[in-house]
């Protein structure tokens, strides 16, 4: 092989001019230079970070201003106090991710606990039979919601507003408007109170109910993010027509979401017996709104298709932390309500702000 020497190449005129020109590759115009812009982008990519940050900040603030707040016991107590609303929020999140809403979650829960109690405590049915029956009832309630929404094509808000009242009337019918006393449950069906048991860790009292709540969130997170079903749920919520065109059987997906939500409510009903200590038809009347509050504060978009289910867990915890912290700081109850209201508005405002990023 011989290397032939080539004469040095002379630059052409146009090349000289070219050097002075812009060498950047084609790109979108970027306006995101400031801190706020970068924060907006970061939050758009990680929507769960908003509630996490709020939770951290509120923990810090209440740790400073409220006595006893930062004890292990108090923190485990907050977990306990939010556990039931947390489970309802998990069910609610599923529905809200599909751009729906379920006003009947708390009514399904109380109905299931009343029926389980009636069967196990008063009619002597063994708990291991009574509880699955209540789960079937919960799933059936969810199925009714799903059926009305997907087959009769009623809007979710109206459907569940209706079934809320229907289930509530059934609660009164089955319970005779009477609580089942804790002592009677202990005597006849102590297993109903299973989730009231707790594991002492240091000063903390972690109830089985708290663990169950976290477990439900983890399982749902996995289902939503790691399975085809979960991606379909998000797709249906984001744009139902597009999902349909992409070959997703949207009605089947929606129906499955409502049934699953009903089942979770029934499980929450079991857990609520352990938490409350008795079975009360009067408890959790505002549970549906409290669950929506947790979901919204958790950064899950009411317009569907966006937000992580873990957000609802943090949302529920934020409400619990605020209530506990304000109480320990000696603030009157009405200001706790006041604070919760502003939290909701703030959460939705942040959600709207983050949504603008893609515009």
């Amino acid at each position: 092989m011989t290397e032939t020497e080539q004469p040095p190449r002379t630059r052409q005129d146009f090349e000289n001019t070219l050097d002075q020109s812009d060498k950047r590759v084609a790109s979108f115009e970027s306006k995101h230079s400031g801190f706020m812009d970068r924060a907006q982008h970061f939050l758009h990519g990680n929507p769960t970070m908003v509630p996490v940050i709020v939770l951290m900040i509120s923990l810090l603030i209440f740790g400073v201003i409220a006595n006893n707040f930062f004890s292990a016991f108090n923190l485990s107590l907050i977990m306990q106090q939010v556990s039931i609303i947390g489970m309802l929020a998990a069910a609610q999140s599923l529905v809200i991710i599909t751009a729906g809403i379920d006003l009947s979650v708390a009514a399904i829960m109380v109905l299931c606990s009343v029926v389980a109690g009636k069967l196990a405590v008063e009619l002597g049915v063994p708990s291991i039979i009574a509880l699955p029956m209540s789960f079937i009832l919960g799933a059936a309630c969810g199925w009714l919601n799903g059926f009305l929404i997907t087959r009769i094509k009623l809007p979710p808000f109206i459907t569940t507003l209706g079934t809320w009242n229907v289930f509530y009337a059934l609660i009164l019918y089955f319970s005779g408007a009477q609580s089942i006393r804790g002592a009677d449950i202990d005597a006849n069906a102590p297993f109903l109170k299973f989730f009231g048991n707790s594991i002492p860790i240091g000063g903390a009292q972690i109830t089985y109910g708290s663990i169950l709540m976290v477990l439900i969130f983890v399982v749902l997170w996995f289902m939503l993010n790691k399975t085809a079903w979960g991606r379909h749920v998000y797709a249906v919520g984001d744009d139902k027509d597009a999902a349909e065109l992409a070959g997703i059987q949207t009605n089947k997906v929606l129906l499955s979401v409502y049934v699953l939500a009903g089942l979770i409510c029934a499980i929450a009903g079991w857990a609520s017996i352990g938490r409350v200590g008795s079975i009360s038809p009067q408890s959790f009347y505002e549970g549906n709104l409290n669950s929506i509050t947790a979901v919204v504060i958790g950064g899950i978009s009411l317009f569907g298709g966006r937000g992580s289910i873990m957000g609802a867990l943090f949302g529920a915890l934020i409400v619990g932390v605020f209530q506990s912290g304000l109480r320990l700081a000696g603030v009157d109850v009405l200001w706790q309500v006041f604070a919760t209201g502003w939290l909701i508005i703030l959460a939705v405002a942040i959600d709207q702000w983050i949504r603008k990023v893609s515009a």
């Binding site: 106090q81 408007a177 609580s179 804790g182 200590g277 959790f284 109480r327 320990l328 109850v333 009405l334």
Partner: protein, 341 residues
Amino acid sequence: MRFNKKFALLAGVAVLSMGGAASAQDAVGACLITKTDTNPFFAKMKEGAVAAAEENGIELSTYAGKIDGDVETQVAAIETCMASGAKGILITPSDSRALAPAIEQARNAGALVIALDTPFEPADTADATFATDNFKAGELIGQWAAATLGDAAADAKIAFLDLNPSQVSVDYLRDQGFMQGFGIDIKEPTRIGDEDDARIVGHDVTDGNEDGGRTAMENLLQQNPEINVVYTINEPAAAGAYEALKAMGKDSQATIVSIDGGCPGVQNVKDGVIGATSMQFPLLMASEGIKAIKAFADSGEKPANSEGLDFFNTGVTLVTDKPVDGIESITSEEALTQCWG
């Protein structure tokens, strides 16, 4: 279309049920409007009203709010009631002040309005009030708690589990009555929370149910784990408070007192969950109320108040299995024959 047929069927049912209400025109009409359907207290009230109405030949319609504090539903009920031409209204107001305009309209239209259980503010908003002396009910359990503690009452740690943030009359009457009975300076008697007695650990609200009672008790125990006296607005709240105390291993340190006289509550007195409860008599309130409407329809005569009170007192009895000297009481065993629900 199938869907339309269903709709027509629904509409038909609605028309039929309205027709049923309209046929009540001939007899003397009366309405019973309760706070909720959920509380067995109101179920007992309804039972008393239905029985008395049958006895006196009165056509009774009943209505209820969805939740304690549900004013809109009650206003609508008053309006429906007047539209049906009722002679009298028995009502347990969900809000002792907010319903005044609706009540005034009903009275102007010629109806006799009797408040049951919860007085209006001012009490003469209605023609009469048939109620438990709630202040007295609180006073009885306050006296009992102080006597039971004896010398320890001087440095008691007291938790107050009230109803809700709106401080309705039944709420402050019971709360302040307890304080009076226990020997606490109540200052403004219509205001919960203006007291400065060091024995008060704090007040929290329960919505009058088990869930609220438990959460409120947990919160107050966080403020002071030494609580040894627990006042509760009603027995479901007391049951919730007991669960919270039990979960923290403090059920033997605190004495719970309550008000109502519901059967589960009396049973809880028997089981030692509640130390003492003041029993009231909802059935009597309603049956006396129906009789008063009958008398008014016949002769135009309006019911009179009990002496020294601005309402007709239907009585209150202390229920406890640990009686103390100087305070009249009955045992839980006796109370079980008279309890409601």
